[in-house]
Symmetry: C2
Subunit: 311 residues, 2 copies
């Protein structure tokens, strides 16, 4: 069933997204001892894979729903993604953002004509503000990661990767809210040739790791990680998929994230955000288990503040 859903999602969003490039580096391959294929979603429109899921979700709405707009809460890439996807599809987007969100993030949303609603910086306040907009304006709430249409959209990155490299044995991606890894797991299951999916997660926000251990969705008490896209937790839509189809989640330290980010910048000569580097950091940490394998790595995004680099 998900196979057809993924194909349909890809057809639906294809005119609106970039088919991103895949890069390799001889030196990185030597460092890891494996053959790596980096899917460059940092080159994606608005700078991250999130435009895939946002576009798919909006395109699934009825005309009447579209006419009333969409709403989400996010201070990260999904805020920009939903704004841009909505702009392209001529739909109004309401973005609930915490009042302490960096100016650069707000600007990016405004650039895509998203309407920002500020709230207190707590999850409760965010949810309340989104619910309020939804009730008052009739706008459809679209969750950044715990929404099946979003998950399917995010899975199209791995579909493209597997179309180009059919015999990948493994795909690594970062784990934040769980939308990307759940979509990737479905894509690998239906379009891979025995391809497994593993996730990278910061020790500082290891809710997914602990959720797989306990069998129920765990939350993060704190989330002091530079990988700001991965501070969120799993949801009831994506957790069952992750439980079923992700073989492993590897936790990494902040130093490992920065080190992997530096390797990507220096060796691949591309700009990625810390959250993106978590996948490579995870592979690096346990590289002895992956010698000589053909491995895909999803570089989730490239939206960094050049004034605040960790090196």
């Amino acid at each position: 069933m998900y196979k057809e859903d993924l194909i349909a999602a890809y057809q639906r969003i294809k005119p609106h997204i970039h088919k991103t490039q895949v890069l390799s580096s001889r030196l990185l391959n030597e460092i890891i001892g494996a053959e790596l294929y980096f899917k460059c979603e940092n080159f994606q429109r608005m700078g991250a894979f999130k435009i895939r899921g946002a576009t798919n979700a909006i395109k699934q709405l009825s005309e009447s729903q579209r006419s009333k707009g969409v709403v989400t809460h996010s201070s990260g890439n999904f805020a920009q993604a939903l704004s841009l996807a909505a702009l392209q599809l001529n739909v109004k987007a309401y973005i609930v953002m915490p009042s302490n969100a960096p100016e650069v993030k707000k600007k990016a949303v405004l650039q895509y004509k998203g309407k920002i609603i500020e709230c207190e910086p707590t999850l409760e306040a965010r949810e309340a503000a989104a619910t309020k907009i939804s009730q008052e304006e009739g706008a459809t709430f679209i969750h950044p990661s715990n929404d099946m249409d979003v998950i399917l959209g995010q899975g199209t990155a791995a579909m493209e990767l597997l179309e180009e490299y059919k015999d990948l044995e493994l795909i690594f991606c970062p784990v934040g809210g769980g939308g990307l890894i759940a979509g990737t797991a479905l894509a690998a299951k239906y379009f891979g040739n025995g391809c497994k999916v593993a996730g990278g997660e910061p020790f500082e926000a290891d809710d997914a790791y602990r959720s797989l251990l306990s069998g129920k969705i765990e939350s993060n008490e704190t989330a002091h990680t530079i990988a700001d896209g991965l501070r969120t937790q799993l949801g009831d839509q994506n957790f069952p998929i992750i439980r079923e189809d992700v073989v492993k989640i590897i936790r990494v330290t902040e130093e490992e994230i920065i080190g992997a980010m530096r390797l990507i910048w220096e060796r691949l000569k591309i700009v990625c955000e810390p959250s993106s580097a978590v996948a490579l950091a995870a592979l690096l940490r346990e590289k002895e288990n992956y010698q000589n394998k053909k491995i895909g790595i999803i570089l989730s995004g490239g939206n960094v503040d050049l004034n605040n680099l960790p090196f």
Copy 2:
């Protein structure tokens, strides 16, 4: 004549280099008001176009010459390029470097098995050291930019770009020692469809601009520019070509270089060195003259020290 030489050079080096990607950005196009195609030589082997010229020059040597090695003086990308090209072709490379060259540059040469000869940080000392090696070891001196085989090799980047985008009206590239822009001018002349070539140069090292004005090779008194690849001056091999076939050299300030570099990093999501950004800075400075044109931009290299970024 140069047309056949360029074709031969390309055939000669093709197995040893990457055919680099060409990137575009809708937002950058909007900022400039033109259609831009960035030739990503920052993705080239060793991180810069210089491997093209170095490989072509070594491959033109006789067996007997190759057996005695090659020598150059450079503290920049050509040092790495000649080392790597020589390593691949099983030739010994002697690299004369000033004693104050950054450790990171020396390391890069050593990584490619280049043999470093240190000298005082003056042009005279460099040349004397290179001549000495040449006499003692019989190694062939290869100049980083003022050598016809090097120039032809560098021209292959524009050949690839024009093969993919046949109707470019203009190509911008940075001007340092003159090898890249001379090669680019030849490639545009023989493989373009009326394609012109323009150069970008820092005000702080504007020898090429002044040389075109005076009609003779001018030197730089000082060269306090962040674009460290562009501190050198033109030579008698490349100057006549530049005089004949380059339509314009536009000078840019240090602030403009850093601004263009930031745009490339933020919009294209790639890592380029300051020297690379000079071409875009030049176009930005005079963008009103280039509205709606199809323009190629050669991003010359991506070797930056992440610990020393200007932002």
